[in-house]
Amino acid sequence: MSSTEQGTSSAAPAEPTTAPESAAAPEVPESFYYVHGKDKVVHKVSAGALQHSALIHGMISNLGYTEEQAKANPFPFENIDGDILQMVVDWCNQHKGKPTPPEDTNLPKQKEKLFDLVLAVNYLEIKELLTYCCKQVAMMVKGKSPEEIREIWMIPTDAEDEAAEKEAKKRAGKEAAGETAAAAGDAK
């Protein structure tokens, strides 16, 4: 289990759900790593919990950091909001060394955060959590008509798509013309 340490941010991180090192001490001391998100709040996470993330697991597998080195070099994930990283860390801790159940009741319930969570989980390559999150996304449109699906998933209409495409072409044309003019100017 992880403990959470204060980084540069003043925001108080969520309390860990179980005690970290005090829980049934393993024979071989467990190694810990440190990660932080956009808010710079540093989270201490065990290597076992981080195994869920293919990205982080790949990064740490050959580092051989000592505790001090790991503490001094937290992995920065500047593209992930602090609260989202907290959710991810919590989930990894809750599922450390356990087989993941087909239905996960420990998923964050705030649907407003779901988009950022999917982005983060996909970036961190946490396959099981991505699957659970995507199930939640899919459930948003369960039983809905095409029009309702378009509204809920914010899908542009064909007309909007066409207009955007025209606009993009127009912009690209202008940029190309600008580049040609600049190149002609340089040649003179």
């Binding site: 988009f115 899919a138 369960k142 095409p146 378009r150 998933w153 899908i155 209409t157």
Partner: protein
């Protein structure tokens, strides 16, 4: 049923802003109804969903039409009918024989058959799926039969399974369907004809189930080369059944037989006459092909001249007794010969 929900307060999610892997992950979780509805949300959605899917498809044609997709005990269906009231809602149907869950998306259509044809083309182009089973209800289809036949022929497809339902139908009309629809593996006929005359059934198929077969004679049965046969409501006697069993034991016919089910018009005389002069050993009680089959007693184990053993089991179903001869016990678990209602 799912009532139409207001979505004003529902959280929005910009699905298409995710990367492709995550979008695919979401789409893979959708059930076939939601998947197709998503494909209809816009052209870009259609492009995203144009991927081959492995669904088995059953099409039902009657006063309403159904396009049902799925594998295993859970399936999802589009259903078109002339009822406006439930348009856009969904109903779930739990079946027990065998255990199945079917979800139906109900759609109002002035022309259910036309809507089905249109949808078939859309689904085939989108997901590369095609029809595996055709179910025709002759009593309740409002249009001319040739309308169905023309469409089925236009698909240029040999359908693995054809099931036909009806009561007091003309023999000629039923034979017209059998002659013009191409089916290749299994035929289920649940039609009570007025004339009660023999039907011409191709012996190139593997499985045949006939629910009302008072026209069946011993000679007719002996000519079949099918591997799985079920004939109910026949007038075959125990003596006729005895001839069939002996012919199989002596390897004179039906060498590829896997199962043979026949109704018993005289249960009491079955052992004395149906198994007359056939050596048998009593075997265990075996479960029937469906939960509705209640075993009457243990099985009669008989052996063919080449050493192959068959189990003959007697069951009670509804209002009649049947004897089922299994030469492959694995059939009790898979490929039930009767299909469920449309």
């Amino acid at each position: 049923m799912f009532p139409q929900k207001r979505i004003e307060n529902q959280v929005r999610f910009p699905l298409l802003d995710l990367n492709y892997v995550a979008i695919r992950e979401v789409l893979n979780v959708l059930d076939p109804i939601d998947y197709i509805n998503f494909s209809r949300a816009s052209k870009s959605c259609r492009t995203l969903t144009a991927i081959k899917k492995p669904y088995k498809v059953t099409v039902t044609i009657r006063d309403y039409t159904v396009f049902r997709m799925g594998n295993g005990p859970v399936s999802h269906a589009f259903r078109w009918s002339t009822f406006r009231r439930k348009n856009g809602t969904r109903v779930i149907r739990n079946l027990t024989n065998p255990v199945e869950l079917r979800e139906y998306y109900l759609i109002y259509s002035e022309n259910p058959f036309g809507s089905l044809k249109e949808f078939y083309l859309y689904a085939r182009n989108l997901m590369g799926i095609d029809i595996d089973e055709i179910v025709i209800d002759m009593d309740n289809f409002k249009g001319p039969l040739w309308d169905i036949i023309d469409w089925l022929r236009s698909t240029s497809r040999d359908f693995p399974v054809l099931s036909i339902y009806g009561k007091n139908q003309r023999q000629k009309k039923l034979q017209y369907i059998l002659d013009n629809v191409k089916f290749k593996d299994c035929l289920n006929i649940n039609v009570d004809t007025i004339e009660k005359l023999p039907l011409k059934i191709p012996d190139t198929i593997e499985r045949l189930g006939i629910m009302y077969a008072p026209w069946i004679t011993l000679n007719y049965v002996m000519q079949w080369k099918l591997s799985q046969i079920a004939s109910l409501d026949t007038n075959l006697t125990n003596q006729d059944i005895n001839v069939f069993y002996k012919s199989w034991i002596e390897m004179e016919s039906h060498l590829n037989l896997e199962s043979f089910e026949i109704n018993l018009i005289d249960l009491e005389g079955f052992i004395a006459n149906g198994l007359k002069d056939i050596p048998y050993k009593m075997g265990p009680i075996r479960p029937g092909p469906f939960p509705a089959y209640t075993p009457v007693d243990g099985s009669f184990e008989v052996t063919r001249n080449d050493g192959l053993t068959a189990s003959i089991c007697v069951y009670f179903i509804g209002d009649q007794f049947v004897a089922v001869m299994y030469t492959r016990l694995a059939l009790l678990k898979d490929n039930p010969i009767h299909d469920v209602s449309p």
